[in-house]
């Protein structure tokens, strides 16, 4: 059936707001530029070669700082500007982490991390994709992530927090009937005197629910995780973080 116009049926706002073309910052020299470009392009096939070439000229911390991390910063910017979608950011993150692994081998030790974050998906919930995205974005931003996995009993989360003393803990749930584990975890931690920011998000998890118990901070989107971790590592308590993100 031919229609004269659909203008009053829907508007394709996505086409009105197309992102600008990709422009990327320059590296300090040619070898670092190649590393930076490989991260920006998510070039997993060539990252080993270009990182090794850069390591022949520079020390590992320089390759990490001026090539890998700088490349990832560009990716974050491109994502924020709408040039990149999530998959480009994830592939670039994979590429950067592969490069860091090579540098760490050369250094003979792991790169200093900004802090530890423990992540999990609620007991009874097998939907852990949101958690995996959080893990990838945190790692890409220099945090150590302890991934407890999916369908994690309350006891295991509490025990891990007590043992490893992270700067922040996160919980992901798709269903409202599994997110109830978050309140139990928060209650147990608070009872034991552990006042840690507990970021909860995913699916049907609501601001109203998460802010109904102490320690809880509602995470609207996985992309917030690095900034939240930065706040937690900088010493922001859960009250301050709740005010900033959920106020």
């Amino acid at each position: 059936m031919a229609l004269a116009t659909l203008d009053n049926v829907f508007v394709r706002y996505d086409l009105k707001k197309e992102a600008a073309a990709k422009k990327v910052a320059a590296g300090k020299d040619e070898s670092l530029q190649k590393v930076l470009t490989a991260v920006v392009d998510g070039d997993e096939e060539n990252i080993v070669q270009v990182v090794n070439e850069a390591l022949a000229v520079h020390d590992p911390p320089t390759v990490i700082r001026e090539g890998l991390v700088k490349g990832m910063n560009e990716v974050s910017r491109l994502w924020e500007e709408g040039v990149y979608f999530l998959p480009q950011a994830i592939i670039s993150s994979d590429t950067m982490l592969a490069g860091i692994e090579i540098c760490e081998k050369k250094m003979g030790r792991a790169m200093d991390k900004k802090g530890l974050v423990i992540t999990h998906t609620a007991e009874g919930d097998i939907h852990d994709l949101g958690q995996k995205i959080v893990n990838a974005l945190l790692r890409a931003n220099g945090y150590e992530v302890m991934d407890l996995g999916k369908d994690v009993p309350v006891d295991n989360v509490v025990a891990a927090v007590k043992q490893y003393k992270p700067a922040m803990v996160t919980g992901t749930a798709l269903m409202t009937t599994t997110m109830t584990a978050f309140r139990k975890i928060a209650s147990r931690l608070e009872h034991d005197g552990i006042e840690i920011p507990f970021v909860c998000g995913g699916g049907a998890v609501s601001l109203e629910y998460v802010t109904s118990f102490d320690l809880g901070i509602w995470g609207k989107d996985a992309s917030q995780a690095p900034e939240m971790a930065s706040d937690a590592v900088s010493g922001a308590n859960w009250q301050k973080m709740r005010e900033k993100y959920n106020g």
Partner: protein, 457 residues
């Protein structure tokens, strides 16, 4: 192995809401696809009510009563209620069984008093963890099968599932825009897992005289679609999600090859393709599932439905009553309009309105529009030599259709993603065995816990 070699319908024009080639009868004088559309209401318990069996039974008793009461109050001829299991209902088979029994008694009461036609779908939770356990022999599967038994024994008329086979691969690949892994995880592994699981579900249904309903690619294609999100979201490209949907159709088809009879699951947006191939009645959700999620085919997806659903609505009070009552009313009047169109001989006009409302809103709606769904189905059955071949053919056809229609506008980025996806699909091996070898070799290295033996590989 794939079985469908031809389409159930001669053309997409022949497909219409309310009528399926193979209607299904069950419940209390309830027929799906027999000439009319019925509402399917899915109530969801409030957090906290799942703490004990007693509190959950009481929650369902209230919700179901609110649904039936509103249906009678507004003169709706019939309704199906879906008991979509929260984890606790499947983990404890007696909980699922008792809730099915309670719902049956409530429906019987309304049938006796008022003649309200009704039925129950029990959708058992698939709590298996493919990257952590042997999904063909694990406690989660054992409990799920026991809960199918208890539900059917206590009065569930339709047994359905949202199976998760291959999810460990598709989750990894959807967020990396890796079409090879999506094709492998959904098209190959998902289909193989469904073959295994659905044989068991169909056997249980037969034993108890229940109807094996259907499955949905909720765990995979819906992940891609929901991550693609609205027009301005920047998570998964919309063209990539649309191609993923076509692959999901090839996988969901397996349930009907194993003996499922429909109606299909409401959240299976691939259902128009399934109906075109199989002729089973389908359940769909669109604008009426805004209580659970947003999508870009709110009207279109009703075009060939046989049940019209709300996905899931959590139990709360609204000005107009409780949420299950309110959504019963919304669904009931939507269905009344469709059935009025049928009665007035205007069904195809209404179908055209529903389709044109959304067809060019997004590539996803475009692919599941009946005329395109039909062509994807044709590609699928014409390449039925293996799960891989048919899923790949469906994906290629979906992508080609999107690119070929000048009215389906795409951003430069989305077009580039789709063209790259098609190039990759075309480059894959011709033989399933070669593709599987390639994928096992690749994903065993990068997806922790991936175990090909879970899929008989």
């Amino acid at each position: 192995m794939p079985k469908y070699t031809q389409m159930a319908y001669n053309s997409a024009d022949e497909m219409i809401f309310g009528t399926a080639k193979h209607p299904v009868k069950y419940g209390r004088d309830f027929e799906v696809g027999g000439g009319f559309v019925y509402p399917e209401l899915v109530p969801h318990p409030r957090p906290g009510s799942e703490e004990t069996k007693k509190s959950l039974l009481r929650e369902y008793e209230r919700m179901v009563n609110d649904v039936l009461e509103r249906a009678v109050a507004l003169g709706f001829p019939g309704i199906q209620i879906e008991l979509e299991h929260v984890w606790q209902m499947t983990k404890n088979p007696d909980w699922g069984g008792d809730i099915a029994g309670q719902t049956r008694r409530q429906q019987e009461d309304y049938y006796k008093k008022y003649g309200l036609k009704s039925a129950i779908r029990a959708t058992i939770a698939d709590n298996r963890k493919p990257d952590q356990e042997n999904i063909r022999d694990c406690k989660s599967l054992d409990l799920a099968l026991k809960t199918f038994e208890s539900s059917a024994a206590n009065g569930a008329d339709n047994l359905s599932m949202e199976s998760v086979g291959g999810k460990e691969i598709s989750d990894y690949c959807i967020v990396r825009q890796d079409i090879r892994g999506v094709l492998f995880g959904i098209g190959v592994l998902g289909s193989r897992d469904m073959e295994y699981v659905w044989q068991k579900i169909v056997a249980i249904a037969k034993k108890h005289g229940a109807t094996p309903g259907g499955d949905t690619n909720c765990a995979q294609a819906n992940v891609a679609m929901f991550m693609a999100g609205g027009l301005l979201d920047k998570s998964v490209p919309h063209t990539f999600a649309a191609v993923t949907r076509a692959i999901g159709a090839a996988r969901s088809l397996t349930a009907y090859e194993m003996g499922a009879l429909g109606p299909t699951k409401d959240c299976a947006y691939e259902d128009p393709i399934i109906k075109a191939i199989t002729g089973v009645p389908i359940s769909n959700e669109g604008k009426t599932s805004a209580c659970a999620h947003a999508d870009l085919q709110g009207n279109l997806i009703a075009a060939v439905c046989d049940l019209w659903s709300n996905e899931a609505v959590e139990y709360h009070d609204m000005f107009g009553g409780t949420t299950p009552a309110v959504f019963t009313e919304i669904l009931g009047y939507d269905v009344a309009l469709m059935n009025t169109a049928i009665a007035m001989g205007k069904a195809h006009d209404l179908k055209a309105m529903l389709v044109n409302s959304d067809k060019y809103r997004d590539p996803h709606s475009f692919v599941v529009a009946p005329e395109n769904a039909y062509q994807v189905g044709q590609a699928l059955v014409a390449n039925n030599t293996s799960y891989y071949n048919r899923a790949r053919a469906a994906a290629i056809k979906a992508g080609e259709l999107v690119l070929a229609d000048s009215k389906m506008l795409l951003s430069a980025f989305e077009r580039e993603v789709l063209q790259k996806t098609l190039r990759e699909l075309e480059s894959f091996p011709a033989k399933e065995a070669d593709f599987v070898d390639q994928c096992i070799n690749t994903y065993k290295k990068v997806v922790p816990g991936f175990n090909p033996a879970n899929y008989g590989l």
